[in-house]
Every structure is written in C-alpha cells, then in structure tokens.
C-alpha cells in the first residue's frame, strides 16, 4: 500500500536533511541508539497502521456468501469495484471535487500568505489568526454551522433570498450541493494551508530581499523570482494533503446528509460507500477492497505530484 521511493524523494526536498545525512555518515554506521527514540513510535505504528493495512489486504481477497461461507476469491472484489457504478460515481465525484476545490483553495491560501508576508498589510497578525481560526473549529461544528446557514428556513440563505425576493441561493439543490460542500471544506482548510505557505515564506533569508532590492526588483518581481521558488516544497506538501483530504471526503457530506437526504446518497463518496457497506450492509470484504483502491489511488497521485514538484526544483 505504501510506496517506498516516494517518501525518500520527499525527504530530499528538505534542504537541511541532505546535509545532516552527510554529517551523520562520518560517525559509526552500526549504532542502535536511535531505536530508543524511534522504537515506541514504530511499535504503535505497526499496530495502528501496518496491521490494519495488511488485514484489509487479507480481507479484500475473500468473500462471504450465504452458501459456502467465506471463500478465497482472488481479485474478484477488485474486478467488482472497477465495474461498480456506485463506486465509480463516487470516485468520479471526488475527482471533480479535487480538480476544482483544491486549486481554488490553494490559490486563495497562497494569495493570503503572500499578502500577509508582504509587509504592506495593516494588522497582519490579526489576519493570520482570523483566517486560521476556522481550522480550530471541529469539522462537525463547521458542517452544522454552514448547514444551518444554508437552510432556507433559519439561515442567512433564507434572509438573502427574502431580500432579493427570489430563491437565488439554493445550496440544497442538485447543481449546488457539491459547491456547498466545497465551500465548507475551503472555509475549514484555507487558513491551514495559508499557514504552511506563510511559515515557508518566513524562512527566506533577509539578505535575498536586500539583494533583490539592490537589483531594483519590485514587489511582483520579488514574488516571482524569490518567494514562489522558495514555496515549491510547501506547495507540493499542501497539494498532497489536499488531495488526500478530497479523496477521503466523508464528514461534510455525511453530516449534511441529515439535512438533504435526497441529494446525498449513501455512496456519495467512496469513503461513505465503504462506511455504509461495512456498517449497514455488512459487506466487510468489499468495503476493505474499496478502502484499498482509494488508498492506492491517493498514494499514486501523491507520488506523481511529488515527482512533478521535484522536477521543477531541479530546473
């Protein structure tokens, strides 16, 4: 389930890390003391990460039938998944979500980080905290809040529609429900991504700006030639986390479902499908298969993003 080359490629992205490895090589290579520190983490990790992955791989090659009980079926579950219209519909939906929501959110986050870092903003720290605050709000509360706001009966949506005299805003309608979910996710995570970018901007040495100013570079030139290149690693990481978040989409649609049950099906996203298969349908083996397919798809896309990020860095 995990790819072994991707993480090492990621490791090389940190500047300081390559240098420290060279430094460490000078010391004796057979030194077990590091395990004092890494051991406890790895023990729990094996129980909570590796064991479930192996267990779900194991589950995914079996099927429980009314006649004959549990049988080894090889890749039958995987074949079923790739021809299952419900799964494909959900996978298509999260892909569409990813293609639209992630660029919008990251562009907003990047613009905000550059604005806060530009030193041309009055009260920059207020903006930083204000934008990040939604991240501290539990996802359930965020969805409940926006769900109420969206509601035509007691929310702001109803107020705005009354004001305009027509049902202009209709978040709970087929064309808009995915946008409504995208808005909640953007609201929750835009500040978090802004902070990742902002932290990376803060590591740019002052001398670089001074040198750029000496060369007569203006604000935009500085952004293009110094800030954006310095942000490459952070952008790659933020993109990977956002992709993971999109593919995992569960909380927001699952909670909104109680407000709009006719618009959000039980297989709206692959994660909701896997959840409903295992808890309502008792189809444990097939649920494990869906989880694995989505995990592999996520890892592959994350790997591709990482490779692209690296290639740009080498240029």
């Amino acid at each position: 389930m995990t790819t072994s080359t991707a993480p090492l490629a990621g490791a090389r992205q940190g500047r300081g890390i390559a240098a420290s490895t060279v430094q460490e090589r000078r010391r004796s290579p057979r030194d077990w003391r590091g395990w004092i520190f890494v051991g406890p983490f790895m023990a729990v990790f094996a129980l909570t990460f590796l064991a479930p992955v192996l267990y779900s791989l194991f589950l995914s090659v079996f099927q429980t039938k009314l006649i004959g009980g549990t049988q080894f079926v090889g890749l039958d579950n995987y074949v079923q998944a790739f021809t299952d219209p419900k799964f494909l519909e959900g996978a298509g939906r999260v892909t569409l979500f990813l293609a639209v929501q992630v660029p919008v959110m990251l562009t907003l986050a990047l613009a905000a980080a550059l604005a806060i870092d530009s030193r041309r903003l009055a009260g920059a720290s207020f903006f930083r905290i204000g934008l990040f605050l939604p991240y501290a709000v539990p996802g359930v509360v965020a969805v409940l809040m926006w769900g109420f706001i969206y509601s035509p009966r007691m929310g702001l949506t109803g107020n705005i529609n009354d004001l305009l005299g027509a049902d202009v805003l209709a978040p709970f309608s087929p064309p808009w429900i995915l946008v409504a979910i995208g808005n909640i996710v953007t609201w929750e995570f835009v500040g978090y991504n802004m902070l990742i970018f902002y932290a990376a901007l803060r590591t740019i040495p002052e001398e670089l700006y001074e040198a750029a100013a000496l060369d007569g570079a203006g604000q935009f030139r500085t952004v293009r030639s110094i800030k954006l290149p310095a942000l490459r690693g952070a952008i790659t990481i933020a993109t990977i986390f956002s992709i993971i978040g999109s593919f995992q989409l569960f909380n927001e649609p699952n909670i909104l479902r109680s407000l709009a049950p006719s618009l959000i099906s039980t297989y709206y996203t692959p994660n909701m499908y896997a959840y409903n298969l295992s808890f309502l349908g008792q189809q444990v083996n097939y649920a494990a298969t869906i989880a694995i397919v989505m995990g592999v798809a996520t890892a592959v896309i994350a790997y591709v993003v990482q490779l692209r990020g690296m290639r740009r860095e080498q240029r």
Partner: protein, 297 residues
C-alpha cells in the same frame, strides 16, 4: 536590469524596511477575514436565541429574548447532563491521544534527525509513505481488527489510533535537524551523558516550538475526530462532543422527532470555545517558533 543609482538604492532598501501599507490589499484581506469569521459570528449570535426566534429572524443580529444563559443551562441539563459527560470524554481523548501522539512523534522525529541506525531508511520509507495513506481508509479495517481484539466501544479504540501522527513526526524531524546542533550532542556524549538524559535536559528545550506546533495540531485533530468515534463507539456514554452534537442534530428528523436546534447551536459554541482558547494561547509560543525559524537563516 538597470544598475540602480545610489538614490534609488536607498529608496528601495528603505521601502523594504518600512513599507507603506496598501489600502487595496487591506480591503481585500478584510473581505477574506469576514468570510472566515462570519459563520462564527452567526453561531455566537444564534446561541442567544430561543428555539422560536431562531426561525424567522435575521441570522446576523440579535432577536427575541436574550436566551444565551438559558440555552447553556439547558445544554448542560438536557438528557441528564450527558453534554458534560461528552465534554469530559473529549478531554480524556485529547489528553491521552494528542499527548501520546506528541510524545511519540517528538521522540521518533528526534531519533530520525540525530541518529544513524540500522533500518533508518526503512523507517523513513514506511512512515513517510503512511502520510499519503488516508487515515479514514484505515478506519474501517482498524474497526474490524479492533472488534476481533474486543477493543471496540472502549476508550482505547479512540486513543490508540490517535497516538500516531506521521505528519507530527515529519515536522519534528525537519525541525530537529536545524534546531538541535549535532556538536552540542557530541559534547554531551563526551561528557558521558546518556542519550535519554541528553534528550530531556538539552534537546527537548530546543525543540519546544516544534513540539508545541505538533501538540496544537494533534489536539485539533483529536478534538475534531469524527469518523473514528463514529464507527468505534455505540455507547452514548463514551461519545465525544462531535458525535453527541450530531446525534442531537439528527433528532430533528424522523418519527417522534424532537428538534433541539438551540441546544445544537449552543453546544457547538461551547465545543469550539475551549479549542480556540487553547489555540490562541499556544499561538504565542508558536509565533516565537516561527520567528526563531526565520532568524536562524
């Protein structure tokens, strides 16, 4: 690029030292912040309304009797005060889960940054690969495994999976590489200090901003946790706030429905207040961590 004259040079560099603030930029960012804070304002205002005035009043202004204290009282006594129980459960999961996750990630990140040991490359590969594996993809298999081990519907089914934060490990590792000088560790070794003692007396202090950051993210993640308790727990007495609030919310629909929207809204407000306080409080440490990071270059 043209060679700058002396005048332009001094003008440019001074504009970096004390740039004027831009009204346009401030206005644009103000709109952005309003978007961020609007739902929180709505929540705060709505928590002062009774069930009746929630409907049919403008969402962003006060209306009807001021019922905040009545709502808070009702939230705490509704269903024999189960809200307080959920609050305590959430705290317990945060202390054990996020506390444990921070400790394990700090130790391991430090170990990876400052030691060469057999199997290090393998640890890198597996742990950083795990960042790309969706946590929720693991939730269903973890549930199936835990139910065989008899751990479901216990606090351990929430705490144990919360103990691992690959991202936290990554953060500490990146942070420790630069912030703990290898020469300092070598000096301590020459003096004969053991590795654990060196860690607790010297390194940990240098790692504080990184540790606080990881703790902050772990606290938010555990406080926020929804999917894991949703599948692991069936006993309402073990629910964290997130699951409990959603259960109240769902009471509004279905047969024999008993809508308690005012309690859901007030309960939501009470849920976010502590986490926002923690965040704002830790932010001070964290800002120093950020600026330390920028000075270091």
């Amino acid at each position: 690029m043209t060679t700058p004259t002396l005048d332009r040079l001094s003008e440019r560099s001074s504009s970096w030292l004390a740039p004027r603030s831009s009204k346009l930029l401030t206005a644009a960012m103000s709109l952005f912040v309003i978007y961020s804070l609007l739902p929180l304002a709505w929540l705060t205002i709505s928590s002062t309304k009774t069930m009746d005035s929630l409907f049919g009043s403008f969402g962003l202004w006060f209306d009807g009797p001021f019922a905040l204290f009545q709502n808070i009282h009702d939230t705490f006594v509704y269903q024999d005060g189960i809200f307080l129980r959920w609050f305590g459960n959430t705290l317990l999961y945060v202390v054990l889960g996020a506390g444990g996750a921070t400790a394990l990630a700090t130790l391991a990140g430090y170990g990876l940054a400052k030691f060469v040991f057999p199997g290090k490359r393998g640890v890198f590969a597996v742990v950083l690969g795990a960042i790309a594996v969706p946590g929720t993809a693991l939730a269903v298999p973890t549930f199936l495994m835990f139910s065989q081990m008899g751990l479901t519907n216990t606090i351990w089914s929430i705490v144990i999976p919360s103990l691992i934060s690959p991202f936290g490990l990554y953060l500490i590792w990146v942070y420790a590489v630069d912030s703990v000088p290898t020469e300092l560790l070598e000096a301590a070794r020459v003096d004969g200090a053991g590795e654990l003692r060196t860690f607790f007396t010297i390194s940990l202090r240098l790692l504080v901003p990184g540790v606080v950051t990881v703790a902050l993210f772990s606290i938010v993640a555990t406080w926020n946790n929804y999917f894991l308790p949703l599948i692991m727990l069936s006993d309402p007495n073990l629910f964290p706030l997130t699951i409990g609030l959603n259960q109240w919310n769902q009471q509004a629909s279905g047969i024999g429905s008993e809508p308690v929207f005012n309690l859901v809204i007030t309960g939501s407000l009470l849920t976010i207040v502590p986490i926002i306080i923690v965040f704002l409080y830790l932010q001070r440490y964290w800002q120093s961590g950020l600026s330390a990071g920028s000075v270091k270059q």
